[in-house]
């Protein structure tokens, strides 16, 4: 075997992890990230100053107690069903339709869109880091479209039923077209999509900023933002409290998209083309897949999902577009990688990451640990999921998984030694 073939074989082995193994690895990566996060919390507890130590280990006082931080995090994300430091344990006043849970589900909903966006491109073998930019511009398109079309429609439920779907489609289109740019650059100019999408993120943020601040700014506001949309043109919360900015309709739409993306990938000819391109471009070409077209289409699709994420962010959370869009696109990378780029995996991964994000607010409020902690955990999770070999070594060290027997019936070496 040549070095290249050898390396490819290794790569194949890494990606050939079975579904169970993938779940195990994601889970282990998560645990490890949480543990490393705990160490970081402890260390930063030495850096900062406080009146009384939150915890004491080996005779040294620390300002933050990692266990407490994580407990507060999960409790906060669920809307405090538990009374920490109280023998009663359960909070009798807990209502499932609470503010904390609404925050968690809000984040989850948004992450489903960005996670799906990243998953589609990764499955096509394209490292689309540009979901963020696609989301920024898609969201802006939605906000502007709604703002200009709303006056022409009857206000109220009927107007909303017409306007909201159209606005989402506009967001998807703009996000998709912006995603198609790096796709086309990749297909026709061989430009590495990792770099182009990152550059396009910077460009999208600047363009959106200029457009809003120069042409579409809200005259009544000091911040760079568009004029808020009327309530009927946005996704209003149902059942959950107002301030949580969570609409169960958006979540339902996201879940429907999960099924849709799964169907597209697994059940259609186009999905077959896309997955084949991602797994083995040479084989795809051999199988009659138009590589360039598939690249552009996949990136359009990925961008459209990101753009829809932006639309939902505008319609459900903000009711307008505002500069300083949260890094939902980057979180989408974590969600997708955690989900093994599987659409169904995106749901639990988004829920988990949504919990982290919403809980981090409770953490900042309750323990003083900055909410940026989630940003650190995001990176750590990606890092650990990227090294399945580590967990395999760990696994075989404690003999968790017996060696997988390879199938070879004609006595030759695996894969056949060519002459």
């Amino acid at each position: 075997m040549s070095a290249t073939e050898n390396a490819k074989a290794v790569l194949r082995r890494l990606t050939a992890a079975s579904a169970t193994e993938r779940i195990l690895i994601s889970f282990a990566a998560l645990v490890l990230a949480v543990l490393v996060g705990a160490v970081i919390i402890l260390v930063s507890g030495r850096i900062t100053t406080c009146q009384t130590a939150a915890t004491t280990l080996f005779g040294t006082g620390f300002c933050y107690d990692p266990v407490e931080v994580y407990l507060v995090l999960f409790n906060g994300a669920l809307g405090e069903p538990f009374l920490l430091n109280d023998p009663a344990l359960f909070n009798p006043g807990w209502n499932p339709l609470n503010f904390g849970l609404a925050l968690t589900l809000k984040e989850t909903t948004l992450l489903i869109f960005t996670g799906l966006s990243v998953a589609v491109s990764f499955r096509a073998g394209l490292f689309n880091i540009g979901t963020q930019g696609q989301l920024v511009l898609g969201g802006l398109a939605t906000a502007l479209f709604s703002f200009f079309v709303a006056p022409a429609l009857p206000s109220g439920l009927v107007g909303g039923l017409v306007l909201i779907p159209l606005a989402v489609i506009v967001g998807a289109l703009v996000g998709g077209l912006y995603g198609a740019i790096p796709g086309a650059l990749k297909a026709y100019a061989d430009a590495n999509e990792v770099i182009t999408t990152i550059m396009l993120n910077f460009i999208a943020a600047q363009i959106a900023f200029v457009l809003v601040s120069e042409f579409f700014s809200n005259p009544d506001s000091q911040v760079v933002e568009t004029t808020p949309l009327p309530g009927w043109a946005t996704l209003l919360p149902v059942a959950f409290p107002q301030g949580g900015d969570f609409s169960i309709l958006a979540l339902a739409f996201g879940l429907a998209l999960v099924v849709g993306v799964w169907f597209l990938l697994e059940q259609t000819s186009f999905g077959y083309d896309l997955r084949t391109s991602g797994e083995q471009p040479e084989a795809a070409e051999y199988g009659g897949v138009d590589a360039k077209r598939t690249t552009v289409t996949s990136m359009f699709l990925s961008g459209a999902l990101g753009g829809m994420g932006g639309a939902i962010w505008v319609l459900m959370v903000m009711g307008k577009w505002q500069a300083g869009v949260p890094a939902l696109g980057f979180d989408g990378i974590t969600v997708s990688i955690l989900a093994g780029n599987n659409p169904f995996g995106v749901v639990p991964a988004a829920l988990l990451f949504g919990t982290l994000k919403s809980g981090s607010l409770a953490v900042q409020f309750g323990t003083g640990v900055p909410k940026q902690l989630v940003g650190v955990l995001r990176g750590l999770i990606i890092l650990f999921v990227a090294m399945p070999e580590f967990f395999r070594m760990l696994g075989s060290a404690i003999d968790l998984e017996p060696d997988r027997e390879t199938v070879a019936t004609d006595g030759g070496a695996l894969g056949g030694d060519d002459e």
């Binding site: 000819s269 083995q280 199938v407 070879a408 894969g415 056949g416």
Partner: protein, 519 residues
């Protein structure tokens, strides 16, 4: 004569495979020793153990009478062993001299800097001593394969190797370059070096070696002296039974033209001309063979025909339609089957199961998909049918392609392509890596297709295969179609000369009579 290498009861196991089973091997100093066997017999594994790339599961390695335990090639190099791998271990953009001294660079200025002048001089001295013709300043990517091989040998000699291992050294050479290599062997042994070379061609072993050891299924089945054995004995040792007759295609009257290639030129991935001005056609019920040493433009020719490469010049017409610029998919849809040369890269998606691989190329065809939706139950039936009819083992449609052995992967690809009901089958190295039983089966199926009136383009580096199966045989050298011959009335030697780029008495037979000289 003393013993240079002695391998004592070597066993090497990989997960699920025993590559070497209790192998003994003794090589005398100053001799050429051939290690003969079929693909997958364990020859390369054994030599990798001697070179310290693998550690034996059991057994010991003795060099110069001392037991050795090599942890890495560095240890083997220290013991005076050099290995020339089948795929050259050279750094393409670096020069010949840079490659030869890599890892042992002469230094100057307190060891901070490579002494390039001294490196050059040492390379020149070394190649003069063994009569090699290499320019130390050429970049590896600019020199021929034969020269690259000599650089590999010099690299080993530069490191003080007394024992040289060559893995399939002739696979990439023209017959003339092979002769040159064997002369180098003589020069080296005359100066006291020991040579072990791996081969699966018994003629070569008989020709160049003093001693021959035959491996079969990882076992040593016999060591013989070259001048005390016969081709028949070696062949029987290699395959373990009487060698089968070469397939012979009965003459048959061909029908209408299916494929016509006219003045076709194409470039390789680096933009270097690889095919120049090739013309031929194939008719119904005809096998057109293409012979040639690997890397003489066959791959690019086939890719142009199958729609994976855009030709720079010329035209291709298929079933009377110009398809020069037609997409790959339109050719598949129009009944063109293609067994690609690289099954790991192209023929199969390694992480897909056989159900998914079974529809590769047909994912848009109405047989398996309607309204853009794939009928997976039909795809499963299809995969199971191929597995059954082409004896793919183990018969698991749900197993990923990469879990199958090379031979079974190949059988699955062949099955998939033959079952397409094609009008033209483009088969490149269709029997590479498969066992003899499967090889016979594939040959029979190819001849069946021919009998059914299909057109077949057969590309193979196995001369006996193309010669035995083809109705007409084109020989390629350096991108050109040297000649189209009748394989039944042409000797292997004549084809060999064409493969080497020599047109025998071209002036005498092919030249047009000068104008005005007619009566």
């Amino acid at each position: 004569m003393s013993t240079a290498v002695h391998l004592d009861e070597i066993t090497k196991r990989f997960p699920g495979v025993v590559a070497n089973d209790d192998v003994d091997l003794t090589v005398e100093r100053g001799t050429v020793h051939a290690l003969l066997g079929e693909n997958g017999a364990g020859k390369t594994t054994l030599m990798n153990i001697l070179y310290g790339l693998y550690e034996p599961t059991e057994g010991t390695v003795h060099v110069d009478g001392r037991a050795r335990d090599f942890d890495s090639p560095a240890d083997a190099i220290d013991a005076g062993i050099g290995m020339i791998h089948q795929h050259f271990m050279l750094v393409d953009p670096m020069t010949v001299a840079e490659n030869i001294v890599l890892g042992n660079e002469p230094r100057k200025w307190f060891g901070t800097t490579v002494d390039r002048e001294r490196a050059r001089q040492e390379v020149i001295d070394l190649s003069n001593r063994y009569g090699f013709d290499v320019d130390p300043d050429d970049a590896i990517e600019d020199v021929s394969v034969g020269v690259q091989q000599r650089v590999e040998i010099l690299k080993a000699l530069y490191r003080g190797a007394d024992i040289l291992i060559l893995d399939e050294p002739t696979a990439v050479l023209t017959p003339q370059e092979v002769e040159e290599l064997f002369r180098v062997f003589e020069e080296l042994t005359a100066q006291g070096k020991t040579i072990i070379f791996i081969s699966h061609k018994l003629g070569e072993a008989m020709h160049a070696a003093d001693d021959i050891t035959v491996l079969r299924n990882g076992k040593n089945v016999g060591t013989v002296k070259a001048d005390e054995t016969s081709n028949e004995e070696l062949a029987e040792l290699m395959v373990g039974r009487e060698v089968l007759l070469e397939p012979k295609a009965e003459p048959q009257e061909p029908g209408d033209e299916v494929l016509a290639v006219r003045n076709l030129s194409a470039e390789d991935n680096r933009g270097i001309p690889a095919v120049s001005d090739v013309s031929f056609d194939i008719r119904e019920g005809e096998v057109f063979g293409v012979a040639g040493v690997d890397g003489n433009g066959q791959s690019q020719l086939v890719e142009a025909i199958t729609g994976l490469r855009t030709p720079t010049e010329g035209s291709i017409s298929y079933k009377g339609r110009d398809v020069t610029d037609a997409s790959r998919r339109s050719r598949i849809d129009d009944g063109m089957a293609y067994i690609p040369e690289d099954r790991h890269e192209r023929g199969l998606v390694m992480d897909f199961d056989l159900v998914q691989n079974g529809i590769l190329g047909s994912q848009h065809s109405p047989t398996f998909a309607a309204d853009g939706r794939i009928h997976w139950s039909d795809a499963r039936d299809h995969a199971e049918r191929i597995i059954d009819e082409y004896d793919v083992r183990p018969p698991h449609a749900d197993a990923d392609a990469e879990s199958f052995s090379g031979g079974n992967q190949q059988k699955f690809i062949v099955g998939r392509e033959f079952e397409r009901e094609p009008d033209l089958v483009v088969a490149t190295h269709p029997t590479r890596g498969v066992d003899i039983g499967a090889m016979e089966f594939i040959h029979e199926r190819l001849l069946d297709l021919r009998a059914e009136g299909k057109a077949v383009l057969l590309v193979s580096s196995k001369l006996d295969e193309v010669q035995g199966l083809s109705d007409r045989l084109g020989v390629m050298h350096d991108g050109e179609l040297m000649d189209i011959v009748d394989p039944r009335n042409t000797t292997e030697e004549e084809i060999g000369l064409l493969m080497a780029g020599e047109r025998p008495d071209a002036d005498a037979t092919d030249a047009e009579p000068p104008v005005g000289d007619a009566k």
